[in-house]
Subunit: 205 residues, 2 copies
């Protein structure tokens, strides 16, 4: 036991907290001392919620989003537009798009992007299952909503190559350009250039 | 279930994390998604460490520092100077002083300071047990190492009133003055004033 801690239990709890990303030893100590002041059942609730999540977690077998059932609430919702599939990297992206309330189609969670530097190839991602879904029919549009990075672009291109044999399926990509409320002079030149090239008719709206 | 989350388990885990101090919903989500990627046994270790700490935590019956045994390692260490008692607010303060490696005496953890604003009176603190310890004899010096705040000063004064009937016990307080490496022009005027009043002979060290 480190001499600094007068309790091995305390030291272990601090070490476990400090393993979490973005949490250093000082924050870990603060969190542990906070839990010491909590009622026992509150700490039990915390541990139970975390443990249950990890043990009982499920992923939708259609879109691979996190789900409590075999098929997630979005995929099983009959009022969603099943002919649209939005391809995203991870479940946070699903949540971000859902929060915009601008999309009523379905999703497909890849689980990452192709990144040779990190040893992630197409076979580690849910690309084959995406192609299967599209080939099964009933899909009009696949929206590529990956990060605007080199890896995202490479993954977009890989999916494009896989789906180009089905020209009846429209392949779209999220619009890139100036953010809403951005000042022009502070927009980076690549984004500004893309905004110019992709300019759209002014509708007065 | 909030529509944002597609899993009730996920939502509950995020909510539990977000209850911790200094952790908002975004950080909570990041931490939960991190634990989802961890091995099951790592998550179990985390939960076990936290749960065991909360259930099995002990406080030293002499100094009230956190301890795995009935009497803590500091109080039961025969090479510590048992005639010195350093009075601190909480267990973090014990750790901070231990890390300086400048103190070989014992501690007494009050569990806070007198703060009428927060409804903390002397009876909620371990002041009576401190007086008992000193009255039991064998104590030469009580070092008051509380925060340099109004509440800390009030608590110092309260303890002074309780111990003044034992003039054989020396009552000292931590030195206040400029921090090491502080630049004089940026030192606040109260601290600088105190440093001047409490100036000590220059020994060349």
């Amino acid at each position: 036991m480190n001499q600094q801690y007068s309790s091995a239990l305390l030291e272990r709890a601090v070490e476990e907290f400090a393993k979490l990303p973005g949490i250093g030893r000082k924050t870990a100590m603060r969190l542990v001392l906070h839990t010491l002041r909590l009622d026992v059942d509150k700490v039990d609730n915390f541990c139970h919620a975390l443990s249950t999540l990890r043990h009982d977690v499920n992923y939708c077998r259609v879109c691979h989003n996190i789900s409590d059932d075999e098929v997630c609430q979005i995929c099983s919702n009959p009022s969603r537009i099943s002919s649209q599939i939005c391809v995203v990297e991870n479940i946070q992206d699903v949540m971000a798009i859902e929060q915009t309330q601008q999309y009523r189609g379905l999703y497909h969670v890849l689980g990452g992007v192709i990144s040779p530097m990190d040893g992630v190839g197409p076979s580690q991602l849910e690309i084959a299952s995406l192609v299967d879904r599209v080939e099964a029919g009933g899909v009009d549009e696949v929206i590529l909503a990956l990060s605007s990075t080199m890896e995202g672009d490479a993954t977009n291109f890989y999916i494009y190559r896989k789906l180009m044999k089905m020209p009846e399926v429209r392949l779209t990509v999220l619009a890139r350009g100036m953010s809403i409320n951005d000042e022009l002079q502070y927009t980076d030149e690549v984004t500004l250039g893309r905004s110019l090239v992709n300019r759209v008719p002014f509708t007065g709206k």
